[in-house]
């Protein structure tokens, strides 16, 4: 028996103290333990469980849910290559192979000396400067072969991450087009002062007048949401900012938080003013770990400036503060009720709705959950008024939308446009030529073919959470859909049968087609799974998991038909390969030790 290593005890004690022994912070504690100890050892779970007085099942249940928490050793250096389709198009798989070869390890396995592991992860939100990877959850951008080689050297030499070249960790904002939001150079406190001057009631009235709708995807009226929450009875009201930004191809919240954090926090404060809330939480995706310290610094600066804390802007009774919770690799936590579960320190399983968060949210109290961009935009409304804001965009879609443009184009990055901008306008601006398709709003969004580029970004035409991935004529749209299906299978929370099993079945079928075993029979199967996912799933993830397949089948059918190489049904696996273990064990290689793919009659 080895003695319990001291660092574990110290790490647990420190994190438990930091979070005042509050079991709602268990996810934050696990994450901090992992940061300190490189993994969450059984001894760490023992100590955490005892310190918090929780059953072990609770701790293990949470630890097992999040991709970035490891209950088995994964190495001192944990490399995760971002595996969005845009990373693929930039050659991430080749780079991953290169790294594995140089480090003499197999993808997904920890090296024998416990030094390093290399694997893939869902899109890390660096699509405009990929291929990207995470080392111990810190983002590295613009990975190429020399950078891979250098990283391998650093790992072999066991150089501390803090001593790696800062250049590797450089994340650019790449704002290509500013409009009212990205161009607003507001002084901290300006919008909040305007909101305070209006007062809560008038602020809500302006917000409704502005026709501001949620920017996170669902597009619910922000004014109505805040009002409903304000009117809901509860002992506390909460403000939650959804910065989970997990939809592959989306990275505008990252830029808003890095360049306009004040605007976001100020929007949350305005919401607090409207609700009479005293606590706000920003749920930051684990992939954006590198921003945590700088965001906390902004919060601290705002406290010093009297923009957070007790008696904000000198107003008696306006007490509000914000804390940042970090996610740990779970796309589903972007769904608002799963996000709240995660904030409460639970597995990120979407709740049954109704009731909705506005009446029963965090700790079952009335809670507003809004996207980063929504909060930022609310500042403009507070400052300039609802009528002004409603005058921008189209009649059904007020204001502007920030698009995260990536893929095959000369100038990837952020483009802010008034709603109503056409897809072709954006394509022209970003320098995309020979475009075959655009995936708007990520895998759960819509895939547009060339004939549809006249359509407009707007709630009434093409609603979007912001992703805008461009594919030129060289790209194989089947590969695109397959990448997205893998994403959903990996990110399904596993709560409900249709999505838990259905996304895996769908992934297997797409792989079957990819491996040349597809027949029209499998095509029918895919369509059947699509129906079940859409009709029976518990939440939006399952509902939209089939979107990329449905869209690409409808619009790029030849990409599928090329795959239906078999007329007759074939097994999903290679029959001859299924004899390989037996061949190895027996040393046979005669004709009878093989099965042909097609039998001679």
């Amino acid at each position: 028996m080895s003695a319990i290593p001291d660092p574990v005890a110290a790490a647990v004690a420190a994190t438990v103290a930091r979070h005042r022994q509050d079991p709602h912070y268990i996810l934050q504690m696990l994450r901090e333990i992992q940061e300190a100890c490189d993994w969450i050892a059984p001894e760490a779970i023992d100590r955490l469980q005892q310190a918090l007085g929780l059953p072990r099942t609770k701790v293990e249940g949470v630890a097992g849910f999040y991709s970035f928490l490891y209950t088995k050793p994964r190495g001192r250096y944990r490399v995760l290559f971002s595996d969005n389709i845009t990373d693929r198009m930039l050659g991430n798989m080749e780079l991953l192979r290169r790294m594995c070869e140089q480090l003499w390890i197999e993808r997904g396995k920890t090296s024998e000396d416990g030094l390093v592991s290399v694997d893939t992860t869902s899109c890390t939100g660096m699509c405009d400067q990929g291929p990207a990877l995470l080392v111990n959850n810190y983002a590295i951008t613009r990975v190429d072969a020399p950078r891979v080689d250098a990283i391998c050297e650093l790992i072999r030499a066991q150089v501390e991450l803090a001593a790696w070249p800062r250049e590797y960790f450089r994340v650019d904002d790449q704002v290509r087009r500013k409009d009212v939001l990205l161009g607003a150079a507001l002084a901290p406190g300006e919008a909040l002062a305007a909101g305070c001057a209006r007062g809560a009631e008038a602020l809500l009235a302006e917000l409704k007048l502005s026709k501001l709708r949620g920017r996170g995807g669902a597009g619910f009226s922000t004014g109505l949401k805040w009002e409903a929450c304000r009117n809901a009875a509860g002992s506390e009201h909460y403000v939650v900012c959804n910065a989970d930004e997990g939809e592959p191809g989306t990275f505008k919240d990252r830029v808003l938080l890095s360049a306009h954090a004040d605007l976001v926090f100020e929007g949350m404060s305005l919401c607090a003013l409207a609700l009479g809330a005293r606590r706000g939480m920003l749920y930051l995706r684990g992939e954006y770990r590198y921003m945590l310290d700088q965001l906390n610094a902004v919060l601290e600066r705002r406290r010093q400036a009297g923009l957070l804390g007790i008696g904000i802007l000198g107003r008696e009774g306006f007490d509000f503060d914000i804390e940042i919770h970090l996610g740990a690799g779970a796309y589903i936590c972007g769904e608002e009720s799963a996000l709240i579960e995660s904030l409460e320190g639970k597995r990120g399983t979407p709740r049954n709705r109704p009731p909705f968060p506005v009446t029963h949210g965090y700790l079952d109290q009335p809670t507003v959950v809004n996207n980063v961009e929504t909060f930022a935009a609310s500042c403009l409304v507070a400052l300039r008024g609802g009528a002004w804001y409603a005058g921008i965009g189209t009649s059904a879609s007020a204001g502007t939308k920030i698009l995260s443009v990536s893929g095959d184009c000369a100038r990837p990055g952020l483009y802010e446009y008034p709603y109503g901008v056409s897809v072709s306008e954006v394509l022209a601006a970003c320098g995309a030529v020979d475009v075959q398709a655009v995936q708007v709003s990520g895998p759960s969004g819509v895939c547009l073919a060339a004939g549809e580029f006249g359509r407009r970004i707007a709630f009434e035409d093409i609603p979007t959470a912001g992703a805008f991935m461009v594919f030129d004529q060289r790209r194989d749209m089947f590969a695109v859909a397959r990448n997205f299906v893998h994403f959903f299978a990996h990110e399904s929370c596993g709560f409900c049968t249709p999505c838990r099993v259905g996304t895996s079945l769908l992934r297997n079928l797409m792989d079957k087609l990819n491996n040349g075993h597809g027949s029209p029979y499998d095509f029918a199967e895919i369509e059947k799974l699509n129906r079940i996912l859409q009709a029976m799933s518990h939440c939006g993830l399952g509902h939209s998991a089939c979107n990329p397949v449905l869209d690409t089948i409808a619009k790029f059918r030849p990409a599928y038909e090329r795959r239906l190489q078999q007329k007759e049904f074939e097994p999903a696996f290679d029959l001859d390969w299924a004899l390989e273990p037996a061949r190895q064990m027996t040393g046979r290689d005669d004709a009878g030790a093989h099965i042909g793919s097609v039998e001679k009659s």
């Binding site: 097994p571 004899l579 009878g592």
Partner: protein
């Protein structure tokens, strides 16, 4: 009444990785077999001496796929038969033989031939006459298209009788309570 003598449907059966239990249950339909023989004629089956499979209307297969030989026979049946029926748990989900799927084949062969004392003088048989085992035992429908399924381990004679009648009448078998069983 229809006086035209209908051409009898040709039926073949076989047992792959099964125990012949389904065949025994089939024979349990007893005197109803005579009614059945009004409608069908057997081609290759363990019940007849016909060794070569000819073109058939219906193939009935018991047992799953354990080895290369099973795969060859199944493919032959798929080629020759218009309709294929998987009968019994093993054909439908791998059944008892598929319990080995939890272990790797290498481990199993090691255990059987190397570790435990026994028959093969510590050698894994490598006679080309012997069919090689598949890495995993597979149900039939994972390798060829199967038209109908009659579950049970084995299905009762009544279940088989009902299912065959349904199929001969041209529709999917519907067994209903008491007849449908997975055990």
């Amino acid at each position: 009444m229809d006086t035209v003598v209908k051409k009898k449907l040709k039926v073949a059966t076989t047992s792959l990785a099964g125990c012949f239990g389904c065949h025994m249950s089939f024979l349990d339909i007893d005197e109803r077999l005579f009614d059945l023989l009004e409608l069908i004629a057997f081609d290759r089956t363990p019940l007849t001496d016909i060794k070569e499979l000819g073109e058939c209307d219906i193939g009935i297969i018991e047992g799953g796929l354990c080895n290369a030989e099973n795969v060859h026979v199944l493919r032959e049946f798929r080629r020759q038969c218009k309709l294929l029926i998987a009968i019994g748990a093993c054909a439908i989900n791998g059944g008892l033989p598929a319990q080995r799927n939890q272990l790797s084949l290498a481990l199993i062969l090691e255990e059987v031939y190397h570790t435990s004392v026994g028959l093969a003088n510590g050698l894994i048989p490598n006679d080309p006459e012997l069919p090689l085992p598949l890495a995993k035992v597979r149900p039939l429908h994972e390798v060829v298209r199967i038209d109908y399924f009659i579950p049970g381990c084995p299905p009762s004679a009544d279940a088989i009788w009902k299912a065959l009648n349904d199929i001969l009448a041209g529709h999917a078998p519907a067994l209903g309570h008491g007849l449908i069983h997975y055990d």
